[in-house]
């Protein structure tokens, strides 16, 4: 028997505010005006009923009396590693690094395939002509083989305008999809907003707590003037739990924009210098979607604390810079690999009388598509003691590695800024420093590339066409290799 709290995914001690927010979030997704899914209406009605009871003070009190004792459920397991075992009293700010590893609870791992609601958004602008479009077509056809009958699929193509090639539907016969994909031809410019808007229209009509929702955008071009509109749209998608995953081919697409789209929605962005690996990347992505345990996971935290998140980076399963404000969209969590994020926290001055500092106090929200009710809220509280005597201890090699790679990624960010503000001399110097650091972690070829780029910047006062992306996504990729080795060493 599911009680009203479970329907709204809340613990019994949820505040009025939390009850209201959860209701709004769910109502938006399953409102029958938007959602054409079978079952959406009954979902919506039960959400409405639960809210009617819990939002009324008297009714809630009555209802609470009828409930059996609450069974404490775990939805996620969070393990943490700190750069120091304790903080010290100090009259100036201090830094702390922490690795958070988030996995399904022990014994609660996902055992069945997760159904998906996916929209492919394919760039058909003129620049895609030839090998690029052919690779996109064959990859798109290939991944339809990974889809199952319960999946919802839609395909949108776009150039100057968007065209819904395949309206959202339960997975049709593969040959029908292939025939449609084969008709795509190139023409016109790259208006990403048109494509995303059409995709949003397809995906949002089929939101269901039993599926995860994804848009995969494949493009090779730069969109002009509609970035802000795209990001607004991405915010709307994020609210509904739709992830946007961008695969950029070649040198001309706007990487900052793609990263931002992914960051807002908890998706991913990827750079392909040549289209050869597209098929594999796309397959891995779809496979990952079907193995999701919890989707649309967000970390909400109280930001009026003494600890400020200065930098947040998802290290695994896909490296991605995260926003530092609450809520942080973590995207999806699968059985394996675990989701790991690295946080740099800046702490306010700590007085001698303080014995403990709350680093993160808040809660996770998300959806577990293979459970009913799918939505959940789990509180999280991470704190560290304050000790006067500095305990000498070695931080875990995993953490040191992750922070070391993060330093490289941030050096790269600094180089981008220097070049943007035309301080090319500084940029060259920074590139050389980056190269030296890369050498010390045995990235010979990459170091050489960076040195070549330094020379290019010195001569031309700007990045080479591919250099900027190579360095950015190259340093980002190092993040993953840093943590990949050992993740069992994390302590609880």
């Amino acid at each position: 028997m599911t009680d009203n709290y479970q329907i709204l995914g809340l613990p019994r001690n949820a505040s009025n505010d939390e009850i209201r927010r959860s209701f709004h979030r769910l109502a938006k997704r399953y409102h029958p005006d938007v959602n054409v899914n079978i079952g959406a209406q009954t979902d919506f009605i039960s959400i409405q009923r639960a809210f009617a009871v819990l939002s009324d003070h008297a009714q809630k009190a009555e209802y609470d009396k009828t409930l059996p004792p609450e069974i404490q459920r775990r939805y996620l397991t969070t393990k943490t590693l700190f750069s120091r075992p304790a903080l010290i009293p100090l009259d100036e700010p201090q830094l702390l690094y922490t690795l958070l590893q988030i996995t399904p609870p022990e014994g609660g791992e996902n055992t069945t395939r997760t159904d998906i609601n996916i929209c492919l958004v394919l760039d058909q602008s003129t620049s895609m002509r030839g090998i690029r479009l052919e690779m996109v077509k064959s990859s798109a056809i290939e991944i339809t083989r990974l889809l199952m009958e319960e999946d919802i699929v839609s395909i949108v193509t776009f150039a100057d305008r968007a065209n819904v090639l395949l309206p959202a539907t339960f997975k049709p016969n593969e040959r029908i999809i292939a025939a449609k994909i084969q008709t795509i031809e190139t023409n016109g410019g790259t208006e990403i907003f048109q494509g995303l808007q059409a995709a949003f229209g397809q995906v949002k009509t089929h939101l269901s707590p039993r599926r995860t929702n994804h848009i995969v955008l494949i493009t090779d071009g730069r969109t002009y003037g509609d970035e802000a509109a795209c990001l607004n749209l991405a915010n709307e998608m994020a609210e509904l739990g739709i992830s946007v995953n961008v695969i950029g081919i070649g040198e001309d697409w706007n990487d900052e924009f793609a990263d931002e789209l992914a960051r807002i929605t908890g998706g991913s962005s990827e750079y392909l210098s040549r289209p050869d690996h597209l098929k594999q990347i796309l397959q891995n992505k779809v496979l990952h979607f079907t193995q999701i345990y919890a989707d649309d996971v967000k970390l909400h935290f109280d930001s009026n604390q003494t600890a400020i998140v200065r930098y947040a980076m998802r290290v695994s399963p896909e490296a991605s810079k995260m926003p530092v404000d609450s809520p942080i969209p973590l995207g999806s969590i699968a059985n394996t690999p675990p989701t790991t994020i690295l946080l740099e926290l800046e702490l306010d001055p700590i007085g001698r009388e303080t014995s403990k500092v709350d680093l993160i106090s808040g809660y996770f929200t998300g959806e577990i598509p293979n459970q009913y009710p799918a939505t959940f809220l789990e509180r999280v509280n991470i704190s560290l003691p304050v000790k006067d005597s500095t305990v000498k201890s070695q931080p875990s090699p995993d953490l040191v590695n992750a922070v070391s790679r993060l330093t490289l990624f941030r050096m790269q960010e600094k180089i981008q800024r220097e070049i943007q503000s035309k301080n090319t001399e500084n940029a060259v110097l920074q590139l050389q420093k980056l190269a030296t650091n890369l050498l010390s972690v045995a990235e010979y070829e990459f170091a050489q590339e960076v040195l070549n780029e330094a020379e290019h910047v010195r001569v031309n006062q700007d990045f080479s066409k591919q250099g900027k992306k190579q360095i950015k996504y190259g340093t980002r990729a190092l993040m993953i290799s840093a943590i990949n080795r050992t993740t069992d060493t994390l302590i609880k």
């Binding site: 830094l95 330093t407 110097l429 030296t436 050498l439």
Partner: protein, 186 residues
């Protein structure tokens, strides 16, 4: 605030790597790190350099002559550039490559220097694992400090890291406290 030993950049307490140059700021007792010299105050401002006379004294007879493995003439034929480690008078010919990295080998280090100075007490003398590179081109020879922990000096002047500096015959080079002399035969 803590200071980066390599570039003097200031960071908040708790920082693990210098945001400016990427140098590690955490104490790593695994001995694998570069030994930061206790006499770190030898940051070679001109005045300090003068006070630090033993360091600058053109070390006791720098042997530019044998013991070389070959006669001077034959070396001149094959080897344009030699580096002589002052304390042991060991001569290192730089012959068949255009670029030589100097440093020391320790533990699990992934990149090995071309010229390993471990046997010359490099660790104690503050030589980094990858300390400096000497490049030989047609017309000149340059040295580039690779952002080493204790710096590289040409004739008592610290050089800016990552920027190639010309060196000429007879120059005294310090990698940390390890003294080398360069011989260039035309």
């Amino acid at each position: 605030m803590i200071e980066c030993p390599q570039c003097q950049n200031k960071e908040y307490l708790g920082a693990m790597f210098c945001s400016e140059c990427g140098a590690p700021l955490i104490e790593d007792k695994t001995e694998d790190r570069d030994s930061t010299l206790q006499t770190n105050k030898i940051s070679f401002s001109e005045d300090l350099a003068r006070d630090y006379s033993p360091f600058l004294k053109p070390l006791s007879p720098v042997k530019t002559d044998p013991p070389f493995p070959e006669t001077k003439e034959s070396i001149a034929k094959h080897t344009r550039v030699q580096v002589i480690v002052s304390q042991s008078s060991k001569a290192v010919p730089l012959a068949d490559k255009h670029e030589y990295t100097f440093g020391r080998v320790s533990g699990t280090q992934p990149v090995l220097p071309d010229i390993d100075l471990t046997a010359e007490n490099a660790y104690i003398l503050g030589v980094s694992r990858l300390h400096a590179t000497i490049r030989l081109s047609e017309d000149y020879v340059t040295i580039t400090d690779l952002g080493s922990a204790n710096g590289t000096w040409i004739s008592g002047k610290v050089i800016r890291p990552h920027v190639p500096h010309m060196i000429s015959d007879g120059d005294i080079i310090h990698l940390g406290k390890l003294q080398l002399q360069v011989r260039i035969f035309e």
